[in-house]
Point group: C2
Chain length 228, copies 2
Amino acid sequence: MARDVEQAGRKQAHLKRETVVQAALNLLNDVGLEGLTMRRLADHLGVQVAALYWHFKNKQELLNAMADAMIADWGRDLPDDEDWAHRLQAGVQDLRRCLLAYRDGARVLADTYVAEENTLRCAEILCEILVQSGCPPASIFNAGWTMLYYVIGLTIEEQAFHTSVDSAYQRILAAALPSPQYPMLSMFQPYLENYDFDARFNYGLNLIIEGLRQESNKSMKEDGSAEQ
Amino acid sequence: MARDVEQAGRKQAHLKRETVVQAALNLLNDVGLEGLTMRRLADHLGVQVAALYWHFKNKQELLNAMADAMIADWGRDLPDDEDWAHRLQAGVQDLRRCLLAYRDGARVLADTYVAEENTLRCAEILCEILVQSGCPPASIFNAGWTMLYYVIGLTIEEQAFHTSVDSAYQRILAAALPSPQYPMLSMFQPYLENYDFDARFNYGLNLIIEGLRQESNKSMKEDGSAEQ
DNA sequence: ACCTGAACACCGTTCAAGT
DNA sequence: ACCTGAACACCGTTCAAGT
């Protein structure tokens, strides 16, 4: 147990915000968001619950810090490419990687409204990439939000799916189909039961990027004709 | 108070699943997902907490039923259009309407894996629409999921934004910008502070649909050449 | 069949008091 | 400055017992 080592012979653990956040993320992987309680976290740190409230105003503030820490290593290996669409794709894929690195990571990010270091850096770089599409600023921001919402939405479901113990979804689905009431769902049932989230994610991401590329092409053409 | 009326002179309230679910949805609008507790719900129904556990195995099962009930009136006014893209757009917009009808509605749906009546009907109709795009079945399902994830992701953030009391996001954002560390965010700050979620939603939805339309056109062309 | 009463094992948060 | 001890006002869930 970490706690034995931590407080051996000491009266105060001398917590740092950073170590608390890291311990919380580790605990998250063990017990999930539902099991992540202030008491359990304090236990793991060899400290009383109330001690956490000296470092964090409340649980939400801790969750905010966790969300920002989760994307600390975002964008390490972005390709140094000339094609903005390719860089964008890699960036959004890497965001999903960050969320998948921790159990319920997507829900932590979704339940959170952070504007701290890593989040801002991530937003800055995504803007940089999107600017190169040549689309107007309003579109750049809307497109950025679209990517973010899509990643969060998909990854929440993906992580909920993986941790659902009894997989009630599959049980009920199997009971309901095939049925004459749902001809489409019955006809395509094998596709409904395809749970390859990587493929699912990449398909949708590509859809969004292709939509954006179209607008980009239009914008470029208008710029070109304006210059002539 | 409803509870006074409900149990006046009676020993048993004779709850139905449906009335519990509806009371839960009403309570959700009053107190939000965080404030929605079994005890409070029991109170509103003029009943002891334990009574709820005769009708629902646990809180999650209640939430599942709430999620399905939330989209009970989905698709009422779908246009009887010949253009699949237009119907698709209307359908996804209507899904957002359903989620926005209840406080934290999107989070309720996201925390849930439902395959019950309304959900299946909704999926069936969306498939019907998507089939008319002429895309292959795998694409149809992936595209359907993409829409769903996008709506959920966006609406979670939208509803979190509206109910965030202190709006920490805007506070921290204002403190961080403008800054030479974030040239893009600083340059486009007005766009960052645009919180028109309707416009944001419709832009991204259109992006996805345009991407899908491209694949549809390709599929149609291949079909045409195959017939010749 | 449907609900009550009472308990169990937890929560987040606060705050005086210690060092 | 940083943490302990103890309390407050809650949770979800279970289960014997009532009707």
